[in-house]
Symmetry: C2
Subunit: 305 residues, 2 copies
Amino acid sequence: MMHRLAILSDLAEQYRAVIEKENLPDLTIESTPGPDTDILLGNPHLMKNILASLPALSWVQSTSAGVELLMDSSLRRDYVLTNARDVFGRLMSEYIFGYLLAHERQIFQRFADQQAKRWNDENTGVLYGKTIGLLGVGSIGAEVAKTAKFFNMTVRGYTQKSEMSADVDHYFHGNDLLKFANGLDYLVSILPNTKETRKIVNADVLNALPTHALFISVGRGSAVDESALLNALTQNKIAGAVLDVFEKEPLPQDHPFWTTPNLLMTFHTSAPSLPEDIAKLFIENYKLFNQGKPLKFQVDFEKGY
Amino acid sequence: MMHRLAILSDLAEQYRAVIEKENLPDLTIESTPGPDTDILLGNPHLMKNILASLPALSWVQSTSAGVELLMDSSLRRDYVLTNARDVFGRLMSEYIFGYLLAHERQIFQRFADQQAKRWNDENTGVLYGKTIGLLGVGSIGAEVAKTAKFFNMTVRGYTQKSEMSADVDHYFHGNDLLKFANGLDYLVSILPNTKETRKIVNADVLNALPTHALFISVGRGSAVDESALLNALTQNKIAGAVLDVFEKEPLPQDHPFWTTPNLLMTFHTSAPSLPEDIAKLFIENYKLFNQGKPLKFQVDFEKGY
């Protein structure tokens, strides 16, 4: 059987180039989705509204990890949805450890010293020996845990049930969220957007952190109670925050976060989708698909991830 | 036989506390060095001028990796000199990867975006897949190489002869310095101060680098031709430099580096000596010393490291 793939992404040309080079069997790449399209590859934002018009649709490969736009209960669920996972873990680790190191090594403060021509040879902090807490330990969290162990850190993980990563030293579940937060040097949220994770990082969690703690948010902005975080930062209840995701994106111009002290922000860019990596993942999954085998990284519509 | 240790360091009290807790056999810790002192632990800067006055001196443990102050040909060499090695590799790796990530992830530029309330969601660079070149692959270089492999990078090493680290993908020696530099994304100097390394990072090496390359210097400042580096940066022959060490330290107030564009500096703080780590190393070596066994990390007075 001949399969028909449509690609819906700003980077469609790059995906197409990598995939075409592979000469995958039984595959035609269409320039626009049509009645015979059985495979979609793309951005959930661009795919969402076209799902209903594709009678032959059988498999959707998301180019992002987050697929909550496709979880809307008004949308069909009679196809296999796979998302991008492994590829983001390494890149998100780079982001998280870049900002952790910038914090410990006081990279901004040393630049201020330089500008003031001040030879400041006081010791900075180090990652070595610190304790990091991961809210959510899926494939991305597992990669972050691995990186933390590489840097000789202690790793705590808070999950619903799973204890998949062996790089997590201590797992916490359910009602043990505050116990998990207590004494952390760094708290990192890698949670998806689900009913259970909504505003899970609230005033209680932020109060449970030591005052020297740094909070990093890279999953979905909905996991954070933004006004509680604003309070924690302005009242110096924690040392700082690094946010890549927000309740509303792009962040509204009048949002207080733009000017909140000790808050660094980036713009939903912690894990850039490298077309090459995503295309590889698609190629791997296509081979399974074409053989009628189960695909990698299938999303459970009930759980939402 | 009873051994007598004197500690010469700004952190002497911390070293003493850790060592005393260990209850090492046959060891007395003196408050000042005297005629019976056979062991010194400390900073080369503080030990240098006292060496001649210690007739019983048998072993000197340096708290730093760099011991060039003790290489002066006017000084005695009739004792075993050991330096601090393993402990710095991890901390220096933190420094190097902190600044590499700050560079790739554009941490300063994103802060400027934040200050301008600009939602800039362009992709940043990544470490993944990049090529790093290490000038010098001793115990610190080996740790940096290991970290680079962890981040999925390609590693080149330039050494006099040794090829000890298996994490280096390609070794270069002797006349192949420019070949080594050609095409590197990052060049990192971890060289000690010896005759052979003097101004080894010169105009030719800097010209051999791609214009997008970042140079990081954490070994000794003497390995860098500072005026060649100044030219390379002001003429945009390379993208940037991060310097922790300088020809003259503290850097003179009128040195152009304070205000050179695309240059970030720190103040000989890339690998803070953690008293606990250094004390552990001393304790380990003392046990060997007391049993008449060869010590770890002996310095060769001829080679200078």
